[in-house]
Symmetry: D3
Subunit: 227 residues, 6 copies
Amino acid sequence: MYELGVVYRNIQRTEAHIADRLAAFGSATVHEAMGRVGLMKPYMRPVYAGAQVSGTAVTVLLHPGDNWMMHVVAEQIRPGDVVVAAITAECTDGYFGDLLATSFQARGARALVIDGGARDVKTLTEMKFPVWSRAISSKGTIKSTLGSVNIPVVCAGALVTPGDVIVADDDGVVCVPRSMAAATLDAATKREANEGEKRAKLASGVLGLDMYSMREPLAKAGLRYID
Amino acid sequence: MYELGVVYRNIQRTEAHIADRLAAFGSATVHEAMGRVGLMKPYMRPVYAGAQVSGTAVTVLLHPGDNWMMHVVAEQIRPGDVVVAAITAECTDGYFGDLLATSFQARGARALVIDGGARDVKTLTEMKFPVWSRAISSKGTIKSTLGSVNIPVVCAGALVTPGDVIVADDDGVVCVPRSMAAATLDAATKREANEGEKRAKLASGVLGLDMYSMREPLAKAGLRYID
Amino acid sequence: MYELGVVYRNIQRTEAHIADRLAAFGSATVHEAMGRVGLMKPYMRPVYAGAQVSGTAVTVLLHPGDNWMMHVVAEQIRPGDVVVAAITAECTDGYFGDLLATSFQARGARALVIDGGARDVKTLTEMKFPVWSRAISSKGTIKSTLGSVNIPVVCAGALVTPGDVIVADDDGVVCVPRSMAAATLDAATKREANEGEKRAKLASGVLGLDMYSMREPLAKAGLRYID
Amino acid sequence: MYELGVVYRNIQRTEAHIADRLAAFGSATVHEAMGRVGLMKPYMRPVYAGAQVSGTAVTVLLHPGDNWMMHVVAEQIRPGDVVVAAITAECTDGYFGDLLATSFQARGARALVIDGGARDVKTLTEMKFPVWSRAISSKGTIKSTLGSVNIPVVCAGALVTPGDVIVADDDGVVCVPRSMAAATLDAATKREANEGEKRAKLASGVLGLDMYSMREPLAKAGLRYID
Amino acid sequence: MYELGVVYRNIQRTEAHIADRLAAFGSATVHEAMGRVGLMKPYMRPVYAGAQVSGTAVTVLLHPGDNWMMHVVAEQIRPGDVVVAAITAECTDGYFGDLLATSFQARGARALVIDGGARDVKTLTEMKFPVWSRAISSKGTIKSTLGSVNIPVVCAGALVTPGDVIVADDDGVVCVPRSMAAATLDAATKREANEGEKRAKLASGVLGLDMYSMREPLAKAGLRYID
Amino acid sequence: MYELGVVYRNIQRTEAHIADRLAAFGSATVHEAMGRVGLMKPYMRPVYAGAQVSGTAVTVLLHPGDNWMMHVVAEQIRPGDVVVAAITAECTDGYFGDLLATSFQARGARALVIDGGARDVKTLTEMKFPVWSRAISSKGTIKSTLGSVNIPVVCAGALVTPGDVIVADDDGVVCVPRSMAAATLDAATKREANEGEKRAKLASGVLGLDMYSMREPLAKAGLRYID
């Protein structure tokens, strides 16, 4: 990790038929299906509401205030990828705007996830190119120092290895390691299987206390009702 | 306060004809009518814009990362209630999602106010179940430790006693103690009485300086105009 | 600077034909055209999305929790102005709501930029009076202590001298000093001139690496590609 | 709660022989003895290290940037009290410095706990008057608006009723309700009883895994060891 | 303002006999003497406790993660100066360590005030070179982009013009404009004149309520005492 | 990564003769020697000043408010280790106090680095067991949910693989991957080699501008001096 000045051109992407299907479950279900791990910090927010995507991660490590490597990573994008940008220190500068978005979209990227700032959010919204970022900022960046492309990075507290699956929606962003993607898809599918039934019961007034048989363990734990 | 492992089933709710009418004034006017107190911290934000509610508080005290008691409080909800969830330490985990919202809504709850995180915000928006929270997060929670239901709690800096009135809108959340609810409704009604007239004057170009007779006190305080 | 209890009535505003035309470029382009300076901190966010304005700054210095001077500054507004409110300490109180907005709008103000809180955001949105603020808060303020009007102020980290141009949009807020406004307009115009062409190229799949001739400097800096 | 412009002169203080003895246990043990509740937020920090106090709470509610009521509360201090200052909105101004500390100390106060800022920290350290605060700030305050003295307040997230016991040390600040003080003292005493023995065992290399018999429940929960 | 790539060699420094004497009053008294303005944000903290300095400001504007201009400003230091470093965006990188401190100290600088990070704090403490900063961080910086030296800058929310007086101590940092320095020294001297007498009175148990004759205005404002 | 409920007993530790020697260089020099990467976020602060350590990482992944696994990791400590504790969500609870410190110290641990809170800081200081943490908090934790021991974790933004070297001092915390430890030791040694000479030159008044031959590149970049 942390090799600087390198671009890995060949990465092992999670198979598309798995990566693509994870989007439908959303970040909450996918993260639960993994055992409640893999989430980015909740300061990562979408620049516009409503997008829900999954895709294979191509990664880029940037220095504070320097977006040079964003042009380098653009060339490594393949259709179905999500670009994940980490920064070596906390920085809210606007690394990414409409021109880079045009290029990323042309290369087939589905989204950008960046632990820094984005700008031109009105245009990004019109283009329907979703971005999850820690900030929105007009602050421009320079092109001066080498980072790396397609090395493992830590983005918003989550380790992302190139080829992992990124799932992002209005609730947040989760990274599914490639080796766990198939199992996670299975687990998520099972979780969702009886969600409809549960929702119908709850909507009819059945309580979770009864549906999940919680009354006994609560009583055992000592819960007292006082009238 | 801070009794753990208890559920109070009988609470004194503010009368509905008072609790219900406070919504129309909004959190800013209601808080002014109380003497500028009772507000939750401004980090409490609606998960979607435009909702404006009031209702009687049922409260729940949770531990960090543990939403077990959310199922316990569900049973104590009556139509017209707003659930207020406090946590014993700062935590942004996603305690509340679409299934609990379905259950709360079925029980007649009007909203949730939680000093933690919520998730499934797209579904919450579609269901029109408003939530005010300190964060949005996919992070799941466990069901392991007892808290309490319907004890007084501190939520986002405000003391909430079960049965108080909660007023929430795009500007924030305010808690009106039950004993002050009727007087606050009166005071808010008076504040609004001549708002329309004031607005019309200001819209016509009359200055607040003149409308509120501020020129003399400003001069007395020493204000100088320099050309 | 920091003269307290004074109102400067005559300020040198940037010429309208310059101030008005900067809005179209947006805060990111304008700040780049100035050499990447002049931005307010990214915690300044619009209370509703989509507004994009420029105008001449009239300034007001407030004390924490005290909005008395907002009424004083109202009188100094001329059509085409943007009010810039600074506070002598960090404070998120709701200094500004629908009544003041009505008054400001009647005087011809285009927007408010405030390093504090605003409230009545639903009404502000309906009125189409844009506000950029550090917070949204119902918290009311008092009218007790003198600040000043039309002195230079520091707002969200940026120095604003009365008569400077403020440009604000969904990406943030930038202040263009009056002496630099004409040159900044020129520079921004040039920056935008070939943006369309660049966008078209990038949309067709041309890489920034090639369009900006970055391959050679990257190689010189030591970038290595690994297969 | 939240009655403004009032000073309660007669409050029920926890008995001194209980309040005084809680200091020795420290905030962590006392909060555990209460069932892990009652803590102020961890942003409350001592202005100098090493102080460890307990005492009966006299409370004061202040407005942002206004320390008028600090002089009012001074008169209500009795020997053995700890002053607890809450503010109606977030504010880091320096409400308290060496002159007020001299006055508080002369009245017999043991400490100040304030959800705002303090200043003159060098002198406070020399005087050995401990303060726990959310900030250190030179920012001066005004004397303009009435708050209240000896009403229940929310300070740094904890409800404090006049007469409760405050325990504060380098780890933080905890409030023990008067009605729970005697039981908490008992529980804390029991917790400490075999601490020395435990510490000796652990120091000799015995593992908590064995001392607390955790191996079986960990195995039951599914813990696997991999060589 | 915000001229980039320039170094002003000749600045008008506040006269030494004024600048030097302000240290003794400390930041709180000096800021009060100015009318409660001019303070930097309270996130500016000394890297070690106990230093108290004043001196004339030489300023430097830096870019995020780039400390090249720190070497340029070193040459402009004269004995009695305090270096004030501002950054064009929020950044906590460690711009300043023991080598630069050695150089600054050799040139006669009394302190550094930086709206970024510092490092080598153990050595800075041993050298007795005081630094006020927003962070402590090992993060290194590059030398790539031009900023400016001795232009007006905004540092931690305060405008600092080269030649102004900086007063810093454990309570914070205040900037006194050159034009106000003499008057501020006078006002501070007067404030301190009867501090000793006041302190003696308060220490003897006299209340501020009586010493400052507050009982009448408090009663007029409506304060009620309840037994 | 993120395997839950597992304890790896056999990890590849960096050789002691390398791990031990890195402490002397401090976190800033080590991080520079690695190419300015590997640092934890600057919110990680020592609970007492002056400690400077290095050692081999044993890692533990915890859930919010749950320190059960701290007892599990204790058994895996070998003399010369530094325990690195990561948490699956942001949490400031006090996971670690004097009893665990006694146990860790008895097992030969040199320090704890935890992306959560610590308590009993007075005792930790007396014991000379250094801790770097994001917070100090009395808040107690429960023992309910399995995490893992000796899996790769993300702690305060840095990836830590078991066996890596941790270097921590008053400036912060850096993680040196095992594969880079020998090279980093060499590079750090070289960096320090001529530091003494540089410091002597700067102390004698030589400028960095001359010592590092910066005048020409600054002029090329366009720096202008104005008299």
